[in-house]
């Protein structure tokens, strides 16, 4: 079917027997809630769509709904995600398996509606599972798989499905979809496990002081550690049904690569085509694309880049005052904990929706290859595509 990333996500939600969608419109996510509203208006879903007055209330309503045992979805971007920030910690702390589509967009100021990943990077410690999509197909596929992961009894944590604003949210592609029956087989309606059941009164959201708080957070961390296993289980099941196989991360030509780029989201598509070109010219370059960013797959990333001499990490967000962009900080940590010690450089690119060109990516590979030969990196953090 012809879908942009937002529509693909909404269509997957339609096939997911979602009980409650509570959301507030914000560019470039709006298409998602608009399309879903149409499904509701036409009686194609049983979903109760709670069209709230702010993103803060959207996430609050989602938490309330999720506590009843309902299946819950929301979507947002940028300022909306920032406004939800407080509630994101509570959603994960109360172990609500909510799925949220995020059409990644730059944060104000200055105000800008276009794509970068500053919004989600600012929420990376909120205790949410984070998945990044490369195209509209992945937006569809990961939405279905995300409910499986979120609702896994060993996990019970919320998930964000991230798609680059405009680049994915608004670009139309051909998307293969499951039939409604297949989707229902993969993801049956959520078995209601009501934590606010009047027959079994429980107090949710209690005050925990220094004598108990820490244990709650430790338990939450334990749940986070169980995400990779739940993800692998979900993607196996999905592969059997759809023929499309996902995982924690994706690698391309990394086996003998001297220089590997690590990135998230739609940029991976451009990088892959550059790798193909450079390989044709005999350059040993590769790509690691992370589907799963939180929990960070430390070992998998270290293994994927173990053979590389130089790793170039692409960050579409700034972490002001930090040694690197957020993704690069994580890659550096992963490498530090492993035997292999490739050189690492960081590229900051694409803020506020600025395009990254194949030439710029090729140039980053060339820089990497020079560094591999010299055994030293010239620039630790390089801003690409910005006027000085």
């Amino acid at each position: 079917m012809g879908f942009n990333g937002d529509e693909a996500l909404a269509y997957a939600a339609k096939q997911s027997t979602v009980d409650v969608v509570s959301a507030y419109p914000i560019t470039p996510q709006t298409i998602m809630v608009e399309l879903f509203s149409e499904y509701v208006a036409n009686g194609e879903v049983h979903t109760n769509f709670v069209c709230v007055e702010s993103e803060h209330s959207a996430m609050s309503a989602c938490v309330g709904a999720s506590l009843t045992g309902a299946r819950v979805l929301t979507a947002t971007a940028s300022q909306g995600l920032a406004l939800m920030h407080e509630m994101m910690y509570i959603a994960s702390g109360l172990r609500c398996p909510i799925v949220m589509g995020v059409a990644n967009r730059a944060l104000s100021a200055p105000i800008n509606i276009h794509g970068d990943q500053s919004d989600m990077m600012g929420s990376r410690d909120c205790g949410w599972i984070q998945i990044y999509c490369e195209n509209a197909q992945e937006s569809y596929d990961w939405t279905l798989q995300s409910f499986k992961i979120a609702e896994d009894p060993n996990v019970l944590l919320p998930v964000t499905v991230n798609l680059d604003g405009f680049i994915l949210s608004h670009a139309m592609e051909g998307v293969e979809v499951l039939t409604d029956e297949e989707a229902k087989r993969l993801l049956p309606p959520r078995k209601v496990d009501c934590r606010l059941d009047p027959k079994k009164p429980a107090t949710i959201g209690a005050l925990c002081l220094p004598d108990y708080y820490f244990e709650f957070k430790k338990q939450q961390d334990e749940a986070m550690k169980k995400v990779p296993a739940a993800l692998v289980k979900a993607v196996e099941e999905y592969a059997r049904l759809s023929g499309r196989r996902y995982g924690i991360l994706d690698t391309f030509e990394t086996e003998d690569a001297d220089v590997t780029i690590v990135c998230l989201g739609s940029t991976a598509g451009t990088v892959r085509s550059v790798v193909k070109e450079l390989r044709e010219r005999g350059k040993k370059v590769g790509l690691v694309k992370l589907w799963l960013y939180r929990p960070f797959p430390t070992k998998e990333v270290a293994d994927a880049i173990a053979e590389s001499k130089v790793v170039v990490v692409f960050d579409r967000a700034l972490s002001f005052g930090a040694p690197y962009g957020a993704l690069c900080q994580d890659v550096v940590s992963a490498v530090y904990a492993s035997k292999a010690k490739p050189l690492i450089t960081n590229v900051i690119y694409g803020l506020g929706g600025r395009d990254i060109t194949p030439a710029e990516i090729a140039s980053a590979y060339e820089d990497g290859l020079r560094a591999a030969k010299a055994g030293v990196v010239e620039e630790r953090v390089k801003f690409v595509g910005v006027r000085e």
């Binding site: 009980d19 709670v50 702010s54 309503a61 309330g64 709904a65 999720s66 309606p189 009164p201």
Partner: protein, 309 residues
């Protein structure tokens, strides 16, 4: 319908042993409200005194399902809960009707929670919102809120040598709620238990949102003796300082008539938060408050059809 004392349930859904202060009006408001439930009920709470003193893990005072999520969003949380039960009922996964009651303080209602409340009222969710109004942020140590009356001394509107307590006036919360066109809004005072409890049940039976604004004294913040809590709640009504009425389908009705009103000075001199108003440098303030109270009362009488407009 009026509540009959002998017919009231002896079941306490808010268990004793919680850690609220002696004389706390909020505990009375919560306890009485829970005696008026009609079936399966969920309590949603905003952060506040009532929440922190009743849910200290691993203990809880709540014998009903209870959810506290954050400070500013109790109405939004209630919206989600109500919406979820409806959806699950539609797909055959849930049967029993569940009433949702929100309990939130004046800070969580008049100030930080008013947006979420307004949204929930506009959307028409079926829930009861009870604001227990102790006229300041008592949980964090008596800071002024939009519900704090003019002239009251709080820790963020202290009575100084220049400024005699809070310069601003209390919001007309019931009118704000009624402006949403909802079916039922009422004010109440914990001193008039029968009136309050009757209103709670009436609110529960409304199909859609209903709001109750109940005056719940805080001896700590009002600077009065803990044994005088109910007396203060009554005095506020008898001085016309806190009128008790309901707005049903937009129609105002006075619930507690005050044939022989006491001067506001009676209330002011019995609460330490107003004691500075009796100092010579703040002369005239009490008269100003009295004028405002009279004007408000006369306006209300007209709305209630008690006098010719």
């Amino acid at each position: 319908m009026m509540v009959v004392l002998k017919e009231l349930t002896t079941e306490e859904l808010l268990a004793p042993g919680h850690r609220l202060c002696g004389g706390c009006g909020a505990s009375v408001a919560a306890r009485l409200a829970l005696k008026m439930t009609r079936g399966p009920t969920i309590v949603v709470q905003a952060t506040g005194c009532l929440e922190v003193a009743t849910t200290i893990y691993p203990y809880t005072a709540w014998r009903v399902p209870y959810a506290h999520i954050a400070f500013e969003n109790a109405a939004a949380v209630a919206s989600g809960i109500e919406a979820a039960f409806k959806a699950m009922e539609q797909r055959g996964a849930w049967k029993d009707h569940v009433d949702v009651i929100v309990l939130a303080g004046d800070g969580g209602t008049f100030d930080i929670g008013i947006q979420a409340l307004s949204g929930a009222l506009e959307r028409g969710h079926d829930f009861v919102y009870i604001c227990y109004d102790n006229e300041a942020y008592m949980n964090t140590g008596i800071q002024r809120s939009g519900a704090t009356p003019h002239g009251a001394s709080t820790t963020t509107s202290p009575a100084g040598s220049k400024i005699p307590g809070k310069p601003e006036w209390k919001k007309d919360f019931a009118a704000i709620c009624a402006a949403h066109g909802i079916d039922y809004v009422a004010t109440a005072s914990v001193a008039y238990w029968n009136d309050y409890m009757t209103k709670v049940r009436k609110a529960i039976e409304v199909d859609g949102p209903a709001v109750i604004h109940v005056l719940s004294p805080c001896p700590r913040g009002w600077r009065c003796d803990t044994s005088e809590s109910i007396k203060m709640a009554r005095l506020a009504v008898q001085t016309k300082f806190f009128p008790v009425y309901e707005i049903e389908h937009g129609k105002y009705k006075l619930s507690v008539k005050v044939p022989k009103p006491l001067p506001v000075e009676e209330l002011m001199k019995s609460q330490g938060r107003f004691s500075h108003l009796f100092k010579p440098e703040h002369k005239g303030e009490i008269e100003k408050i009295q004028r405002s109270v009279d004007e408000n009362w006369n306006r209300l009488l007209k709305l209630c059809g008690e006098v010719q407009s």
